[in-house]
Symmetry: C2
DNA sequence: TGGAACCTATCAGGAAAACAGATAGATGAA
DNA sequence: TTCATCTATCTGTTTTCCTGATAGGTTCCA
């Protein structure tokens, strides 16, 4: 069996005759004839009924044709994919996102991306506890989406994406829930356990957003949300995530508003979401596309 | 590009070196080397890193390999399928079933069938209004499942499958629903509209099961069931279908039992389900398998 | 450090294939 | 019937593919 035989089969069916296929393929008629004959011998099946003037596919030939078309298409896909690769297209692109809560607005963009680069493998990481800069420096990730760092690294290029508001959440069973109407003071918040996201590094970033004396550290916003639901403390959560949680379980969670801003860490103000890339690393077409698409997002 | 090149690529990766691949393929090492080299030229990509002792797949090569494995597998599937065809296996099998209500017990058998004949195309027809014998005679269907006919055709081979009971169903809103406790008489039934399945032929079969004077004819059991639910009449429905309907909407439908059998058409007694095949037509392996499996069903 | 054992690339020559061109027979329309 | 068009098959040529040999690189070990 042979790729050219399968392709010849497809062209013969398309054009309706061996001669026409030969013209289309710029070959002699005898070449087409013997190619089909050999394919029939190899498969052990008669593909065409030649009793009439024009060859006619047999029932078995019909089924073989279907398979052949699929194989031809995949071979062509391989060729095109290879052509893309030889033009410098990436075969894999890794995007590291700080937080699964970004997925709702990110997913539609990734859907577009999949259409633009159908054969490319996308790796989407949510390295909750790892350093994104490390991932970029080690080449583990090509692009990253992260909150604005307190101490910006110099070897990372950064572009602003959007500002994320944080919402104060407690469970209805929590003592602070009584103040849902009037609002709470920072002083009151400080007297209850705060739930915070931790990272693996014991740096300054870890204390970001800390207000209370009593703190539990958790791995990721989802874990924080789960413990807030249990009434184990209060937390600031990204607005998109909080919206989703409030919509899903409207009776379990309450948003609180603050009456004052005394002693409030500045990092709880709207925090800038950023797009990161390692400086000096030349991106492929796919990385450039995604970068442009993320920055031009309406 | 070439099928052998793709296969060679797969073997090289599997064995770990060009030389080992050559031994496995019973070819000279130079043949493998040039095959890979030509594939690289054709695709415009370097597939292997040859700086070390053993060639190592590049990132691009990894992706090409994935595609190549898929293509190889499909070519092998085509070969096996063709081998089956040349051994006389059918490429398509059509099973015509009188009634969609048979699907619950039929589906698991068809699942087994799909495993036994993975490449075969199954056509499953529910020709509600057509004559099954005609489908068999015209070669439109290879096998058929039908109720026992009142006048058996001589050119159709028939095997008994199972007896189907019929259940009397009405909606809770129907006047007859009042007799759900005590049961109804045939006389009472005759005074209300009966819903019956019609077929396209205006033969004796059409009147099968008729009891009432006032009758509506509908296309198929599902349509009958829908109108019964609306309270538009009563109907005898196959027990499996009735069970499903009662389980899905326990409050909308009621089963009735008959107090007498005066004037009851004999065809409402358990009706034999049968398997049909046109006499004299030699079946392929798949048809024989399905026939045996249906008859040996526990 | 140098040799043994393994690997790969490349070359020339021969086997196998695929090809073009010509010919004969078959089909369908005028 | 004639004619245009199709397919199968044959022959010789071109192209491809393979083998075997050779040269050079890598790894390991004495």
């Amino acid at each position: 069996m042979n790729l050219q035989q399968l392709q010849t089969l497809a062209v013969v069916v398309e054009t309706g005759s061996f001669s026409a296929a030969a013209r289309r393929l710029q070959k002699a008629q005898s070449a087409v004839s013997s190619a089909i004959a050999e394919l029939e011998i190899d498969l052990g099946i008669q593909l065409f009924d030649r009793s009439k003037r024009y060859p006619q596919l047999t029932a078995a030939g019909e089924r073989v044709l279907q398979q052949a078309l699929i194989i031809n298409a995949q071979c062509q896909a391989l060729s095109e994919f290879a052509a893309g690769l030889s033009d410098g297209e990436e075969s894999t692109l890794t995007l590291a996102v700080d937080d699964e809560g970004q997925l709702p607005w990110l997913a539609p963009i990734l859907a577009e991306f999949a259409l633009a680069f159908p054969r490319l493998e996308l790796r989407l990481l949510f390295p909750l506890l790892e350093d994104l800069t490390l991932l970029l420096r080690q080449g583990e990730a090509d692009l990253a989406i992260s909150y604005q760092p307190l101490s910006p690294p110099t070897d990372i290029e950064r572009w602003p994406l959007q500002a994320i508001n944080f919402v104060l959440l407690v469970a209805v069973t929590h003592p602070l829930a009584a103040f849902v109407e009037d609002g709470v003071t920072t002083n009151q918040l400080q007297q209850h356990r705060q739930l915070l996201v931790t990272d693996r590094l014991q740096g300054v970033e870890k204390q970001r957003g800390r207000l209370a004396a009593d703190v539990w550290w958790l791995e990721g916003d989802m874990a924080v949300l789960a413990l807030v639901k249990q009434g184990l403390g209060w937390a600031w959560l990204p607005e998109p995530l909080a919206q989703t949680a409030l919509a899903e379980q409207p009776k379990a969670l309450l948003p609180l508003h603050l009456k004052d801003t005394a002693g409030l860490p500045s990092s709880i103000l709207p925090v800038q979401l950023e797009l990161w890339r390692q400086r000096g690393k030349t991106p492929g077409p796919a990385a450039r596309w995604l970068l442009q698409r993320l920055l031009n997002r309406v």
